[in-house]
Assembly symmetry: C2
Amino acid sequence: MRPRLVLFGDSITQQSFAAGGWGAALADHFARKADVVLRGFSGYNTRWALRVLSRAMEGAAAAGGPDPVAVTVFFGANDASLPDQKQAHQHVPLEEYKSNLRAICAYFKEQWPSAEIILITPPPIYEPARIRDMYGEDDSSKLPERTNEAAGTYAQACLAVAKELNHHIIDIWTKMQQFPNWQSSALSDGLHFTPFGNSILFDCVLGTLESIGFSQESLQPDLPLFSEMDPKDPLKAFEI
Amino acid sequence: MRPRLVLFGDSITQQSFAAGGWGAALADHFARKADVVLRGFSGYNTRWALRVLSRAMEGAAAAGGPDPVAVTVFFGANDASLPDQKQAHQHVPLEEYKSNLRAICAYFKEQWPSAEIILITPPPIYEPARIRDMYGEDDSSKLPERTNEAAGTYAQACLAVAKELNHHIIDIWTKMQQFPNWQSSALSDGLHFTPFGNSILFDCVLGTLESIGFSQESLQPDLPLFSEMDPKDPLKAFEI
């Protein structure tokens, strides 16, 4: 049976199958070799994610089949919403964020002992674009509901949990800010990803998967590839 | 458990999760409501598809779970390759194409009795682009390996099988040719789809799904939507 990758996260995961999205790119990349299962929940923080975890994973793994090879856990952008601004109801305190992440990882290790867990930090935030998104173009008297500094603090916490539990980590907060004009080249509204931003994360996920021996090259295609069939006797390829 | 849609076909299915692809668009559209399972096999005709069918479907349905709601069966572009041109080894005679399609549908009705089968005809062909793709820009002395006329004949055969078996049918061969400049607006190389061509098929699949009562509106989201949570008491949404 084909190996599976499960993507669990907030809107940046839920939207990952839109045009140019990192989830669709994974499904395309592994089209003949693995199934990619989408479990994204827009707006969710780790508190709500933890609450729905077992229901969210219904059907994600094959019943009686092997564990998924890997699961990405990508929360924090909502937890890091400021507790005194417009999206305060998404905020989760830092220590609870860490303990929720630990509980989510523990659930996966319990359910799918052989699955590799790939934590992804919240992305960087471009505040002027957040103000525009929240309040409209001209309202410069407002404060953003998320800041890059707060996102960075949650990213550090995510890194700490990954280190503590010995899980894989993608520090997209740091990585993305290494690209020129990341504020508009990688982010569409100061929070969500442009196709270029999606490609940055896609590359990071591919790299992490490769580090656990899961790559295009290492995986067998599910069935004979057309390019490897003998034009003079194509049916021979199926005699296995 | 989330309902599933299974996409079974040749390269136009295998590539359907590339940027702008019709498969990814379905996964995105139903992100909170259904899983889309990709089973595309580039280069395959119905003869080879039939040969691998049970292995191709491993893991496509949840073991012990409900049948997939629908499966798209999208073959014929390769079967219709001309028997005396460069891709002759992909050619399947018309009567065998029909009988293979019947056998594929019978397999699905046997395995997943409640699944709706959606047959999709081969797409139209733009021959000058096929010659360029096969032989290079300047070789006008060559004949194409596929013709629009042959694809149309196979499309008619696919329609006939759908009618005979009372399955759903998407006649993408006819539909696509109703768009201005379909030769280049909908097709990238005279055979495969541009993002616009993908959007035409996506709309057709959505319409067919809607006709069986499967739509954004009719499906419940898997878990509470953030937009419907009470900002003053978000956890209330989870007390179900």
